[in-house]
Amino acid sequence: MKNAAFIFSQEQQTYKFSNDHPFNQKRLDLTFDLLNKCNGIREEDILTPRMATDEELYLIHDKDYVDAIKRAGKGELKSSIANTFGIGTDDTPIFENMHEAAALLVGGTLTAVDLVMKEKYLHACNLSGGLHHGFKGRASGFCIYNDSSIAIEYIRKKYQARVLYVDTDAHHGDGVQWAFYDQDDVCTLSIHETGRFLFPGTGNINERGSGKGYGFSVNLPMDAFTEDDSWLDAYKTSLREVAEFFKPDVIITQNGADSHYYDPLTHLCSTIDIYREIPMLAHEIAHEFCNGKWIAVGGGGYDIWRVVPRAWAMLWMEMSDNRVATGPLPKEWVEKWQKHAPVDLPKTWEDIPPIYPEIPRKKEIAEKNALTVEKALSHIRNEMYKRKNHSQTST
């Protein structure tokens, strides 16, 4: 079995709303170029994505919705109808061939899934995926088709495996959560900025799932201005405990890179450090619980110059056991892209502190987040306590 596959093609950049839209897949190019220039990727690691079929899209989406996206991409959908499907808005404008572009991103994630589930590769990564806001019959928050939801349903149907979905995007992973809210063979864990102000507004602690799925949705809303230590503490504690509780067969991680201080859409204050640590623990957990089965997708990330390329390159390098992302960035990369960038590109893999002014209520914020972790995990801790006592009395 090979180690890690990188699903990539230039066509993934056809998922493009407009020139000034914040969701900009140029970041895939920037990441790929950075990996090439630091010898982070080999030709044989790169695999081309396939298109998702209509039947695969119907695993999650309504046929009416898919039809509407197809018609919109050909310019045949009336704007009044478009609005009922959540497209033609400022967030998710209509663009030419949007169906094909969106289905290719889904196909990329399914390519990754098949490689891992057929045990051709231990891990696989599709950075063009991670469109976690897409709903059954409605586009939302820059997302048309929800590749992660489709991939999870595909794994359930085709491979009968239990999926742990871990979402570290700064926005709540609402689309995936609601798709599996009443299931007990899919567990969703989302760590995000509180929805009090930030889109989409959901992802509260008390959203724990319903019916037999109760307990299998876990949400950790972090306060605005949360910094590295507090964030990482929440991530590490919750991922480990949720994995021990749920015992997944495979892990899908959504790696939105928008919790960084530089990100223009969110109000968290992380540095690039968390993007080194996030895949490290995911990698460890995948080996510990799932025989290595780990699929990583991208997600949000709106500082495409200073944050996303470094964050996603580090994700791939962790996945491919090639941890050389320290010290200066390749000069040629900085030189090549600096002339296109509206900001000063970083010169090193690390952020050179301080990148932001001191947060005056750091202590209270960390305290509140620690309480959030406790509350969010309380039902899992109770359950683990019961299991432990039960196994003690029965032995």
């Binding site: 400022d90 102000f197 507004g201």
Partner: protein, 214 residues
Amino acid sequence: MVVEQIMKRNVYTIDITTTIQQAIDLMDNNRIRHLPVTNEKNELIGIVSDRDIRDARPSIFDTDKHEEYFLNPVSKIMISDVITAHPLDFVEDVSSIFYEHHIGCLPIEEDNKLVGIITETDLLHTLVQLMGAHQPSSQIEVQVENVAGMLAEIATIIKKRNINITSVLVYPTNGLEHKVLVFRLQTMDPRGVISDIEKDGYKIVWPHLPGMTP
């Protein structure tokens, strides 16, 4: 909004001969806390709450004793002086009845017949909907002068951006000079509309935490 838009029409009822045990089972099985007592004409003659039942129960230190208590008819413990409302009452008015009388549910009567019920939970759910927190959206808060027309001004700016508003609330502030307008907007990227609002001279209160000026 009026009561009939949010009331539950499918009401679990009992009659005066129902035993306390039967009432307990009905509550447990349907996860409810109130049972209206009606007569054969579906007229309301009383109500039993989980608290009334708790009062009628033996102490938890006396388990296994007094099991005969549970065979008493509910008529012995029901409240017959019931506060009710009408389907056309306003939800806002009804909310203050809950608050003033410290009650957890309100049977709804029309033409002296029981036609529905609303509970604290129904009211809270309505409030969540009014605040727009159940649909994907971003929240912004704008401080405006306490004079006529401010809401229209801000709404016009939002309209120019073609953004759908999910909900609007007007919050009082400590002083009389200002009000805070709270909008939930159907967009993941409110930066454009925020800068438009600021350009017109209004103060955006978020992002802001006490003791912080980010």
